[in-house]
């Protein structure tokens, strides 16, 4: 007999495996599988993780009057908010600035991707490990999605927290804080990846033969895929994990397989999101929250580097920052987030879906000698929309060079507390589960 959450290598027959997965879901309507009714205005969160750290000056907090060695070479454009400008690389978002709010005074505690990444994902520096290899004191806290998964369980073993994207890393070092920590494996993220050739990949199950969930409508293919997995289980080389159980539960329901299938979308809709990994991942995220998945995290890239073998390449633009912003990252981000907001609004989902776009830190206001910008933990931006958030607001200001917050400094912990607030996770729940971020809710957003 298998136990939820336990890792075991007990061989399981296909029939058994099907029963294990099926027992959790078959005979239950989709509605009964949904997460418990949320208490806050946000039923779901889409957390867009801009890994590598976008420049605040080249995106949403330009400083056209700063000295030339600081200011962005991009022109500024007006937004719908009086006196608020973005750089010219974001015309679509500028036109939608009344649909979201902007935090311009974010700051964090480290300029190391690893450490700042842990803080950005968990709200705490505890357990973080940077390039120096030294763990910071304390046990790593659960990542934001896991805290939501703890409180908002999907029924039937379906995952409450999905990550679209690979495991985060800088260099070859994984980032601490992507997982559930002390909350246990049941709150770990269930990982999907968009592949430009194969479609949606479920990493927990190696389906083999180029199979993806959406290609398993054919019962023979599904049976074949399960046979493959059974063989691996019987060899003992593949442990039967909670992730695999969740994957089975998902794969056995045609409705959930369709949820992953971007082919269900019109080509025009897919075009609108942008035919980039991030764009298509945003579309996948919309499909997931449409099915009321409580927390979906979309990783812009796996690695921080812009030229790395990692899909769209990260935001760590130490060199070629301005060229990459012009040719790739600016237009891609502008299109994908704009379309996501439009699409959610058109479907009546924006009010119930909190969208957050943020990286782990900003970039140096002073341009370096490589036509780039380096790491900067003292000031950066975050974009928040939907989920009961008041749109069209700019919270916090930065100083004249976007070097430091001038008013209302905000932290990742504050953002985490705000996400909890939007979801209706009470302080009592936070305390009882040990989930409190230590931050303060950004009250102006509600």
């Amino acid at each position: 007999m298998l136990t939820l959450g336990a890792k075991t290598s007990i061989p399981v027959s296909r029939r058994g495996a099907i029963q294990i997965g099926a027992s959790a879901v078959l005979g239950m309507s989709w509605d009964r599988l949904l997460a418990q009714e949320p208490n806050g205005p946000a039923k779901s969160v889409i957390f867009l993780w801009l890994w590598g750290g976008p420049s605040q000056l080249d995106t949403f907090d330009p400083k056209p009057n700063a000295p030339s060695e600081f200011r962005s070479p991009f022109a500024i454009i007006p937004t719908k908010l009086p006196g608020v400008h973005f750089t010219e690389l974001f015309p679509m978002l500028a036109q939608r600035s009344d649909h979201f709010s902007l935090l311009r005074s974010m700051h964090t505690q480290s300029n190391d991707h690893g450490v700042a990444g842990t803080i950005g994902l968990t709200g705490s520096i505890a357990g973080a490990v940077g390039l120096d290899g030294k763990p910071r004191p304390g046990q790593a806290r659960p990542t934001l999605g896991s805290t939501v998964a703890k409180v908002r369980k999907m029924q039937g073993g379906l995952p409450s927290f999905l990550v679209v994207g690979g495991k985060l890393h800088q260099g070859k070092k994984p980032i601490i804080g992507e997982y559930s920590g002390f909350l246990g494996a049941s709150c770990d993220p269930f990982r999907l990846e968009f592949d430009e050739e194969k479609g949606t990949r479920v990493n927990a199950l190696d389906l083999g033969q180029g199979l993806t969930p959406e290609r398993l409508d054919d019962r023979q293919k599904l049976a074949g895929a399960l046979d493959d997995i059974e063989r691996k289980l019987q060899k003992g080389s593949t442990p039967w994990t909670e992730q695999m159980q969740q994957a089975y539960a998902l794969l056995l329901r045609p409705e959930s397989r369709k949820m992953f299938d971007l082919g269900q979308e019109s080509p025009a809709m897919r075009d609108r999101y942008g035919r980039t990994r991030f764009g298509q991942s945003c579309l996948l995220a919309r499909r997931l929250v449409e099915k009321k998945v409580p927390f979906v995290q979309v990783n812009w890239s796996d690695h921080v580097e812009a030229e790395e073998d990692a899909g769209d390449g990260g935001w760590d633009h130490h060199y070629r920052n301005f060229q990459i912003m012009v040719d790739r990252h600016g237009p891609w981000l502008d299109r994908s987030i704009s379309t996501l907001l439009d699409d959610l609004r058109d479907r009546g989902l924006l009010e119930s879906t909190l969208v957050v776009a943020v990286g782990e830190f900003g970039r140096t206001p002073k341009i370096n000698e490589k036509a780039g910008r380096d790491h900067w933990e003292h000031c950066y931006c975050a974009l928040v929309a939907g989920g009961g958030i008041k749109p069209g607001r700019v919270i916090g200001t930065s100083d004249s060079r976007a070097e430091r917050p001038a008013e209302r400094p905000l932290t990742p912990a504050d953002l985490g507390a705000t996400i909890h607030q939007a979801l209706g996770i009470t302080s009592e729940q936070s305390q009882s589960f040990g989930l409190a971020t230590g931050g303060e809710v950004i009250g102006e957003l509600f």
């Binding site: 070479p73 022109a75 991707h113 080509p267 769209d312 237009p331 000698e369």
Partner: protein
């Protein structure tokens, strides 16, 4: 000066209103992101950068609909290859060879035969070396480097390795393109606050500002006869391809859609312009005919 700018912008708007949606034929359809387009002087191949299966590589395609995209060089892991350009005899390609190390990269300029054989280093990494462009005689490369602490344009004599700095500006000077007679270089510069198109003589003198607009003007390319310059501008809100006379006059909008249209490259006859656009979803190569 203000009055001049006002009149000039008005003239440009009037010209833009005459722009028509392009009738372009789509060349590629593989769905991968593409950039840095260059048309071989013999007209047989288009060279571009592609991000495909997690790798950034140089590819070629014949300028015909449905042609197969082929990798020029299979880059080893963590060595993106990008931003290539042809020699005038179409036998050589210069490109950027990036060696990723930790959280940084080492950019150098390499050269390879047009069939992808015999890659070799031409300009070793000293700083961040980009956008190599052959002079017509094949003896020099004009390229961008940060070796003096800022993006500037330089020329490199291939036989002697002599380096000459061509631009001296506190802004970024990049995206160079050499006129076919070898007399002038057109380039982008942020020296006036935002990116504009400028040109200069091959020795860096006689700098002329060709655009004056509060928007992004980048990736200029001389027509084969040198009389026109194609470039990318977001003056319409999104990126479109424009053509102007070499003195900046007679502006015409070539693409007119809501996508990102970038990296204009002239065909050898001067009657066609290739570009990369996501107007139909993915970033693909298109060819626009200028024939009436």
């Amino acid at each position: 000066m203000f009055a001049f700018c006002l009149v000039w912008n008005l003239v440009q708007v009037v010209l833009l209103q005459t722009g028509q949606e392009e009738k372009a034929r789509q060349i590629t359809s593989d769905g991968s992101f593409k950039s840095h387009l260059s048309w071989s002087p013999d007209g047989k191949k288009l060279l571009f950068t592609r991000i495909h299966k997690g790798k950034m590589e140089l590819c070629t395609v014949e300028p015909l609909q449905g042609s197969k995209v082929e990798s020029l060089v299979q880059p080893p892991p963590n060595t993106p290859h990008f931003d290539g350009s042809w020699s005038l005899d179409a036998k050589q390609i210069a490109y950027v060879h990036d060696i990723l190390q930790g959280t940084d990269g080492k950019l150098q300029i390499n050269m390879v035969n047009a069939d992808g054989t015999q890659p070799k280093i031409i300009i070793p990494h000293k700083a961040f070396e980009e956008s190599p462009r052959f002079t017509p005689d094949g003896q020099n490369l004009v390229w961008v480097s940060t070796r003096d602490g800022n993006q500037e344009i330089y020329s490199f004599e291939i036989n002697s390795a002599k380096v000459t700095r061509l631009t001296q500006s506190p802004g970024f000077d990049n995206n160079p393109n050499v006129r076919k007679d070898g007399q002038r270089v057109v380039f982008s510069s942020s020296r006036y606050g935002n990116f504009e198109i400028l040109s200069m003589k091959m020795d860096g003198s006689d700098v002329k500002r060709l655009t004056n607009h509060g928007s992004l003007d980048v990736w200029p390319a001389f027509s084969p006869d040198g009389g026109k310059i194609a470039f990318t501008s977001n003056r319409t809100g999104n990126y479109n391809i424009f053509v102007m006379d070499e003195n900046g006059g007679n502006l015409a909008q070539i693409t007119n859609n809501q996508g990102v249209n970038n990296f204009a490259a002239w065909g050898p006859s001067g009657e066609e312009i290739a570009y990369i656009s996501n107007k139909n979803g993915a970033y693909e190569v298109y060819i626009h005919s200028l024939r009436k």
